[in-house]
């Protein structure tokens, strides 16, 4: 029983990490309707920024958030304005190629600038553990989990209650009508991509205390983020959160009770099952929204 609870706890915390990365991807999916294959690289860039600020100036990772967030917003703006906007009207294949191209450029730029070694941040709380009833909870992972929850909560509030959020939702619902109503869609797209990049940045900052930064980190995490988003329901924030946690739990439980080597197998098998049985995802907005990001 002890092992079960410990495993479940580890799985839920891992799921929090997945959800954290997926939230930003979901936003850009739902609003800008683009499959951003470079999302993981944005997380990687944020991790490197956090690492270098710790290495060169001694900033605690959580403190560097205040610098990373605005920088990532600008990066997102630039990405939208100069790379995505020109191809907004073209075919889905084109959009996929372009974002994959961006991801490759960022990966190799990181490799060229900073080398291939794994960069780790070590702080006083890196291996701190909270022990509750015999169950060990890693502190940095708990903070990342809490951060993920907070982020989803804030985003939800923002989308539902603020005017900007309502505008973004209206663009997501029907872009052409929004344009007819006089909404400057391209400006809001830039804001959405900027926000998505900020979310990726937050994920990077929260991940740095317990994950090593290296140029290809993005490639790994993007794939998992996609699975989370598809399983949770594309464009659905809460879906991404629940989907992420579910995946984390399933992955870790598989590792303990079946075999560690089969963890990835189970993830992808689940992905296939969901796509076959309920393609719009567990929390998807109903049949017909499966092709978000491709239209």
């Amino acid at each position: 029983m002890q092992i079960f609870i410990q495993t479940l706890m580890a799985g839920v915390l891992l799921g929090g990490v997945y959800a954290l990365v997926s939230v930003g991807l979901n936003l850009i999916f739902g609003v800008v309707r683009i499959i951003n294959f470079a999302h993981g690289e944005l997380v990687m860039v944020a991790m490197y920024m956090t690492f270098w600020m710790w290495q060169l100036w001694g900033f605690d990772p959580y403190v560097s958030f205040f610098i990373v967030a605005p920088v990532m917003f600008l990066v997102g703006l630039a990405l939208q304005r100069f790379i995505i906007q020109p191809i907004q009207g073209s075919s889905s294949a084109m959009k996929i190629f372009v974002t994959i191209g961006v991801s490759i450029v960022l990966q190799n730029l990181a490799l060229y600038l900073w080398g291939g070694q794994y960069r780790s941040v070590t702080t006083s709380y890196t291996t701190s553990v909270l022990t509750v009833g015999g169950v060990n909870i890693s502190v940095p992972r708990l903070i990342a989990f809490a951060g993920g929850l907070l982020l989803v909560g804030l985003l939800f509030f923002f989308m539902q209650r603020t005017l900007t959020g309502k505008v973004l939702r209206s663009i997501a619902e029907d872009r052409d009508t929004a344009r007819l109503l006089g909404i400057p869609v391209s400006r809001f797209y830039m804001f959405a991509t900027g926000l998505s990049a900020v979310l990726a940045g937050v994920a990077g900052v929260l991940l740095t205390p317990f994950s090593s930064a290296f140029p290809l980190y993005g490639a790994q995490i993007t794939l998992i983020a996609f699975i989370v988003v598809v399983i949770g329901g594309m464009g659905n924030m809460v879906g991404a959160l629940v989907g992420g946690i579910l995946l984390g739990a399933i992955q870790t439980l598989t590792g303990t009770y079946i075999a560690p080597g089969l963890q990835q197998v189970v993830l992808f098998a689940l992905f296939i099952v969901v796509v076959l049985v309920r393609p719009q995802g567990l929390f998807g907005a109903g049949v017909g929204t499966e092709e978000v990001g491709l239209k």
Partner: protein
């Protein structure tokens, strides 16, 4: 009323941005090509024809970290040998090829053999790349000397002109098993057959091949209680593995990990209070300076079996200090791992053999010279000797056992190369 077509502002803007992006990309490509072309290539003297050999290493992509490190060892060997007059008065000219994956390895090997007309090459760090590139050279009647990849298969394909100067994965496994039976068993006061061993390994070719070698050697040494825990190197969480260790309480863990999973495993073991008396890494992530830096005091007492590292008994490794000094001068920092040293020693060995053939790089000449080329252990910068067997493998090279002690990877076994005595973790 007829409307005249004129491009909208947006259209003009879009075309400008596209043009701007195109120009910027081209400029970036040209700039990076100019930058990428730099690097020690070996001087070409105006007089005598240089000796041209190919050097295939992955310097971009996922293997770039240690691929670049491996290349640096060779680069320094070339630089030093050319400064000392080259081989028989002829300069060594290295024709570099970047091989980030197997397809590139085959393509580049083909380019070097046909377009560049080379019949001799060295490389490669990664076993899968080495297998691919050497195949092209060997089939075309050329020679390929591997300086750093460890997969046992390399010398077992029946090619006569394929050689390797460094120890193999089998040798790593042998050394681990030997260390366990000759030291760990005694230190724990247990009989070899009573030791509980768990092999925690990443599940790709690297981890699985070492695990297989360990399985064979352990059985032969009488270590019967061995279990296996494979995991994916890209995992963000290794709780399942760690919880498994916590409940089984092994005496020995043999780990085969890459860089980030080595750190992750150690951290999660610390978080869950799992202490193993003898935790033995097998090269890879456990050798990297990054492992010691990331874990600090928590890395203490972790053993590691690998190529020769830098805290070693210098009387057994003449030339090591000179290599480190040359590395610092060229690259402005200490070597990242023993890969550069291994490639340095291997390249030097190749040049010494070519000295014997009078600069003849043909397979026949090199083969004859290499077969009779013998060097005693304890006389090269890695401490390895040179004695190629019939398959082209250097049997006088072996891995050593190191241990992390206060941030330094000290050599602890065998005694002839040790700087400290080994200690079990408590």
């Amino acid at each position: 009323m007829a409307t005249r077509y004129h491009p909208t502002t947006a259209g003009r803007g879009r075309r400008f941005v596209r043009f701007g992006a195109l120009t910027a990309s081209l400029a970036l490509i040209v700039a990076s090509a100019a930058c990428g072309g730099a690097g020690p290539n070996g001087a070409v003297s105006g007089g005598e024809k240089p000796i041209r050999i190919g050097a295939l290493y992955p310097t971009t992509g996922s293997l770039a970290l240690l691929g670049e490190e491996s290349w640096r060892g060779t680069a320094i060997a070339v630089k030093l040998r050319n400064a000392a007059g080259g081989i028989n008065g002829r300069k060594i000219e290295v024709v570099r090829a970047n091989v980030p994956d197997v397809n590139a390895a085959v393509a580049e090997a083909r380019r070097l053999t046909s377009k560049e007309g080379l019949d001799f090459a060295i490389g490669t760090y990664s076993s899968s790349l080495a297998l691919a590139a050497s195949e092209v050279f060997a089939r075309g009647g050329g020679t390929y000397v591997e300086l750093g990849a460890i997969s046992a298969e390399f010398n077992n394909r029946g090619y006569k002109s394929v050689w390797r100067t460094n120890p193999t994965a089998t040798s790593f496994a042998e050394q681990e098993v030997s260390f366990i039976s000759k030291y760990v068993a005694g230190a724990l006061g247990k009989d070899v057959s009573k030791l509980k061993v768990v092999v925690v390994h990443e599940d790709s070719a690297y981890g699985s091949s070492v695990a297989r070698s360990v399985q064979e050697k352990a059985a032969a040494a009488g270590i019967t209680n061995v279990s296996y825990a494979p995991y994916s190197a890209t995992s963000t969480d290794l709780s399942s593995v760690v919880l498994g260790l916590r409940s089984s309480k092994p005496d020995v863990v043999i780990a085969v990990s890459y860089a980030s999973d080595a750190i992750l495993l150690a951290r999660q073991m610390k978080e869950n209070g799992v202490v193993v008396p003898a935790f033995i890494g097998t090269g890879g992530g456990h050798t990297l300076a990054g492992f010691g830096e990331a874990l600090g005091a928590d890395a203490n007492y972790v053993f590691d079996v690998d190529f020769t590292q830098y805290a070693v008994n210098k009387t057994a490794t003449p030339g090591l200090d000179e290599f480190v000094a040359a590395y610092k001068k060229e690259y402005g920092g200490s070597p990242l791992s023993g890969h550069s040293l291994a490639n340095f020693m291997g390249a030097q060995t190749v040049f010494d053999i070519l000295e014997k053939t009078g600069g003849d790089t043909s397979a026949k000449a090199f083969g004859a010279a290499a077969a009779s080329f013998k060097v005693k252990e304890g006389t090269t910068p890695t401490g390895w000797g040179v004695n190629f067997d019939k398959t082209g493998q250097n049997t006088a090279a072996s891995a050593y056992v190191m241990q992390w002690r206060d941030g330094v990877l000290e050599t602890v076994w065998p005694e002839s190369v040790a700087t400290m005595k080994p200690v079990l973790a408590k």
